[in-house]
């Protein structure tokens, strides 16, 4: 009985630790990715080198 109880506690502790590590890893990945995330509310900024000045267009003027 005592062994079973001890085993159950150990399992609970292990699961808690895994859960914590999982959260930590997720937070780390999200934290690292944040600076590279495109804000969909903002226009994409391009350098002039990326422009095709001779592309057909239908703008008047």
């Amino acid at each position: 009985m005592k062994d079973d109880k001890q085993r159950a506690e150990t399992k609970e502790t292990q699961m808690g630790r895994r859960h914590f590590l999982g959260l930590l890893a997720t937070a780390g990945v999200v934290g690292l990715a944040l600076p590279f995330r495109q804000d969909p509310q903002r226009p994409r900024e391009l350098s002039l080198k990326e422009a095709d000045f001779y592309r057909d267009h239908d703008l008047a003027g």
Partner: protein, 326 residues
């Protein structure tokens, strides 16, 4: 923090802290007026000068043409509404292009002129001014494609850097301006006169919209005003309307309407009246007003022949043809 009043155009927007003017891009940041699209154009193309349209200014020259988002007019028939009726932050993309970057790119592509066009460049005034000043220092010219809804004082200053302008005179009727464009007529007429006084080469465009501004009596009045205030040698372009944006209920301008308008304006005394947006139309070429000699032949935006003499005269009768040709 206090509101600021934008004195650039006749709207005179009073902009609260953190707010934007009617054009969407001139904002009040900490009590100071700023243009959010400075150095951030959303459209950059190299077009022929004829596309602006400018027919008497460096014919055939490639023009480095730029625009940012925003406009101080809200025309129901705007062809460029996806650019003009948005703020800079609403665009899918913008280019990082401060004035020195623009000049560097224009020169690299062999362009001798920069056009501020597509939307109304009045709203990105400071960007035009700084780029224009730099362009002059580098030996390039500046062309301004506008509806001319601007106050006289800032326009006079801007004329220091402008070489040519095509002004879209949308109708010779204040009611049309109010109903269709959300602007008024008189400031546009004042702007045309100011540009003439400041020595900017001017061409005028009038987009003819069936039933709204194609009345021949109105066209006659407009042509007479241009003749008297700007000069009989001022080129006038009648342009064909195509249904779009919020004006899809009207048909394209019939060819005969364009022909009648051209005849009416020439009968009123204007010497160079063109028809635009119609491929292969006779009215797309330049003729000598004295003897009818074909001076510059055009097919669409392309020059097919140029018969002007080296000193810009008709090869037949020697009449001097107004314009900035070389």
């Amino acid at each position: 923090m206090s509101a600021v009043t934008c004195e650039l155009c006749p709207r005179g927007c009073v902009i609260p802290e953190g707010g934007a003017g009617d054009c969407r891009i001139r904002v009040n940041l900490g009590g100071k007026l700023r243009a959010t699209t400075y150095g951030r154009p959303s459209a950059i193309h190299i077009d022929p000068m004829e596309k602006k349209p400018l027919y008497h200014f460096h014919p055939g020259a490639p023009v480095f043409s730029i625009a940012t988002a925003g406009c101080n007019l809200h025309c129901l028939n705007c062809q460029n509404w996806q650019l003009s009726q948005r703020g800079g932050e609403e665009m899918e993309q913008v280019y990082r292009a401060d004035p020195p970057d623009l000049l560097k790119a224009a020169k690299k592509e062999g362009c001798k002129a920069i056009a501020y066009t597509y939307s109304d460049p009045i709203v990105f005034y400071e960007y035009v001014y700084d780029s224009g000043e730099l362009a002059h220092r580098e030996g390039l010219t500046n062309v301004f494609i506008t509806a001319g809804y601007i106050n006289r004082k800032p326009l006079r200053l801007l004329c220091n850097v402008l070489d040519a302008a095509n002004v879209d005179l949308k109708a010779f009727d204040d009611g049309f301006y109010r109903r269709v464009t959300s602007a008024t007529l008189q400031p546009v007429l004042d702007a045309l006169v100011t540009m003439r006084e400041e020595g900017v080469w001017i061409e005028v465009t009038n987009l003819l919209i069936p039933t709204l501004n194609d009345d021949l009596a109105m066209i006659r009045s407009m042509a007479r005003w241009i003749r008297d205030e700007l000069g009989e040698g001022t080129p006038l372009h009648f342009s064909r309307f195509h249904p779009q944006y919020r004006m899809r209920n009207l048909p394209p301008t019939p060819g005969r309407t364009l022909d009648r308008a051209r005849k009416e304006a020439m009968d009123a005394g204007l010497q160079y009246v063109y028809v635009g947006n119609v491929m292969g139309h006779k009215g797309g070429s330049t003729y000598c007003p004295t003897d009818g000699t074909l001076l510059i032949g055009r097919a669409g935006f392309w020059i097919t022949e140029n018969n002007l003499t080296a000193d810009d005269r008709c090869p037949t009768c020697n009449e001097k043809i107004p314009g900035v040709w070389q």
